[in-house]
């Protein structure tokens, strides 16, 4: 890589692209040429930079000045002022008050903001995702080299176990243990699968990792293959993530050329292949056995468990299935050791967690923070408070399958153990923050509508239960439900939890349970007084036609 005096990065997430990032990039190329700066300044399209309020963004290093939103017309002035004359073009800078912790390099400014800790998103938005050289310069493929040349598979798994890494897909199963189950199984061949079917509403952390740092997943999968004794891996990417798929394909080609993938990885006896499998639009395929069915070319219907995929997975063979974020933690752990990793987070849940902040707050976006941060901290520090000074009514964690946390519980530390004690599901890391103007009946209705549409239909508690619960909630929001419907709802929620075959149905009842537990009076007002206290529901008086 040649030495340059400045680096210019242009954001290229979906929102930036829609707002003309490509044209900004093209103009930058033209202008750098016009000022004869091509040799001194590098120009790169990077992934999603984690904030969408001022895109397309242009960042100039080493000063780390953030410009945005930049229009193609601004480019001439920007290049002339900053890159030619050396003066920061203040008029084009991104709004100052938006400089929250969710941009990587800001964490270095100690004392101004509570430091965000980036482990899995360390490189996303900083390196060129289409350059393997960039990845290598930023410590890439070191962990794989170390694993293959200095460690036995058992040692790799021991390090992971010691680190205390837990699966980030939502369930929080210890990762090292899962790897051991697969490694110990006598069946061959074995498979490794990266679950990148991120479809939980409100969650887009995996997309950022895949788009911004695709090689980290290639490296992690190869390490996993070496550890458990597999020679083939699949990355199951949801169909909507076209850019992520493109970048992964390129990353695989580059890794093969460098000898990090394919035959004789790193000159050893170890061979490894990675295939990309595109989803076709089904939430349920994020469930690991449904995902496996889908790779086999079938409907994405979950299998009965046990047996678990660790012994009977893809084509009936032992299969390791890990979430993108989980895998992205693996190379840093092997590079820096388990003790280093354990210094972040809480003793029971070491490491960091990536959260997506959404809803009625001033700043939405993505943060990676140590486990154990509280909701209040997230809202006041990173989200810059509630919009229009409204009060916090509730937060919905973990996409649709998470829990509803009422405002009074906002000081509970967010880690696996504390959440388990309060009966809250961590889920995927989405935090949908809702203010006083949110109607809980309306919210529950939207969530149940989601489950009713996404239920695969295989088992009747889920297929019928979700439809029925949706109808009752619709009737409540129309002001035509009797009080006895609340008992029916409670039963449905319990039946969904007890009788459904997979995680989708088992969690589908939790919005109902949580709403009735924390906001029963508000629901009853809809029924008894025929009033929606916040004025959201239609109260149309029309019953659902069944």
């Amino acid at each position: 890589m040649k030495t340059v005096r400045s680096m210019v990065l242009v954001s290229s997430d979906a929102e930036s692209m829609v707002r003309g990032a490509q044209e900004v990039f093209r103009r930058l190329q033209q202008e750098l040429k016009a000022f004869n700066l091509e040799d001194e300044i590098s120009l790169t399209m990077v992934g999603d930079m984690g904030r969408h309020d001022a895109v397309p963004m242009v960042i100039v290093y080493p000063e780390a000045v953030i410009y945005g939103p930049v229009t193609p017309e601004d480019v001439h002035f920007l290049v002339e002022e900053h890159l030619y004359k050396g003066r920061v073009a203040d008029s084009l800078r991104a709004p100052a008050h938006e400089l929250t912790g969710h941009i990587a390099w800001l964490s270095a400014r100690k004392g101004t903001l509570p430091a965000e800790q980036r482990i899995v998103l360390e490189r996303a938005g900083v390196i060129d995702p289409s350059s393997i050289e960039d990845y290598i310069i930023h410590d890439g493929y070191q962990a794989l080299g170390r694993a293959l040349n200095e460690m036995t598979p058992a040692q790799v798994m021991a390090e992971l176990e010691k680190s205390g890494l837990k699966g980030r897909g939502g369930a929080g199963f210890p990762t090292g243990l899962k790897w051991k189950f697969v490694a110990r199984d006598k069946g061959t061949p074995k498979y490794v699968i990266c679950n990148a079917d991120e479809s939980e509403p409100g969650t887009f952390k995996d997309r950022l990792i895949l788009e911004g740092d695709p090689h980290s997943i290639i490296e992690a999968l190869t390490i996993a293959g070496y550890a458990v004794g597999a020679q083939e891996a699949y990355i199951y990417v949801r169909g909507e993530y076209a850019l992520a798929q493109e970048r992964l394909k390129l990353a695989i080609l580059q890794a093969k050329e460098m000898g990090f993938l394919g035959k004789n990885v790193f000159g050893t006896e170890f061979n490894f292949e990675i295939h990309i499998h595109s989803g076709a639009g089904a939430y349920i395929c994020g469930e690991e056995t449904a995902l496996i069915e889908s790779i086999e070319g079938k409907r994405g219907e979950p299998r009965s468990r046990p047996p678990y995929p660790t012994s009977n997975g893809l084509w009936g063979k032992p299969t390791l299935v890990n979430n993108v974020e989980t895998l992205a933690n693996v190379p840093p752990i092997l590079r820096n050791g388990p003790e280093w990793y354990r210094q972040f987070g809480t003793p029971g849940s070491p490491g960091t967690k990536v959260y997506t902040i959404l809803g009625n707050v001033n700043v939405t976006g993505l943060i990676e923070v140590p486990m154990g941060i509280t909701l209040r901290e997230v809202i006041t520090i990173y989200a810059k408070g509630m919009k229009h000074g409204a009060g916090l009514k509730l937060a919905q964690t973990g996409g649709s399958s998470g829990s509803i946390i009422p405002g009074v519980l906002q000081d509970t530390p967010m880690d696996f153990d504390s959440f388990n004690r309060t009966g809250v599901a961590m889920g995927s890391g989405a935090l949908l923050i809702c203010d006083d103007n949110t109607c809980v009946v309306d919210l529950a209705r939207v969530l149940l509508n989601f489950f009713r549409n996404e239920s695969c239909g295989k088992c009747s508690p889920c297929r019928i239960g979700n439809q029925r619960a949706y109808e009752i909630l619709t009737n409540i929001s129309a002001g035509v439900a009797p009080m006895s419907d609340l008992d029916v709802l409670t039963n449905l929620s319990e039946n969904l939890y007890q009788l459904s075959n997979c995680g989708l149905g088992q969690t589908a009842g939790s919005p109902i349970r949580d709403v009735l537990r924390y906001f029963r009076a508000e629901v009853e007002a809809h029924i008894l007084l025929k009033v929606c206290p916040v004025g959201v529901c239609s109260m149309s008086g029309k019953k659902v036609q069944v």
Binding site: Y241, S278, G359, S400, C434, L443, N449
Partner: protein, 159 residues
């Protein structure tokens, strides 16, 4: 986007190309169906007959797969397809009002295709760009942070 009238030759060609690209194996069924769906706008019955013949998969099984996934369509759609996200994050950010405006603008209910074949309005579960909700896509283009007032302007780009 859906092609107007499909002739048998075009269907066979689309199927052939997909099978050449992925191989005539059962486990490639979803990639093959996706390719056909992309080139024809939906998966017509004739295409399923041909895939069934070449892959030696029963038609019933083919249909069960093709009708399961949201990105595959077994019926023709409009020239332009709108996907509107109706999940909670977009709903809370004002999606309800946007969907109402959208329904009025194209005069369709979710799931319908206009008589002139211009528009299909579909609601979907999550498009994965929740940071900028409410979100919708028209064909391949993504629109975020939409307000009800912007709907007409966005749709006008496709006429």
């Amino acid at each position: 986007m859906t092609v107007g009238k499909l002739d048998g030759q075009a269907v066979l060609e689309a199927v052939q190309n997909a099978i050449i690209a992925h191989g005539a194996a059962k486990e490639e069924l979803i990639p093959i169906l996706s390719d056909v769906n992309r080139s024809l706008g939906y998966i017509p019955r004739e295409a399923m007959d041909e895939i069934s013949r070449q892959l030696r998969v029963p038609k019933s099984q083919l249909f069960s797969v093709a009708s399961f996934y949201q990105m595959l369509s077994t019926r023709p759609l409009g020239k332009h397809v709108i996907h509107f996200c109706e999940s909670a994050p977009c709903h809370v950010a004002g999606g309800r009002q946007v969907l109402q405006a959208l329904q009025q603008a194209v005069n369709l209910k979710p799931g319908e295709t206009s008589q002139d074949g211009q528009w299909s309005l579909l609601t979907t579960s999550c498009l994965g760009v929740c940071g900028v909700g409410p979100v919708m896509t028209v064909d391949e283009d993504i629109y975020g942070n939409i307000t009800p007032g912007q709907i007409k302007e966005i749709l006008a780009r496709y006429q």
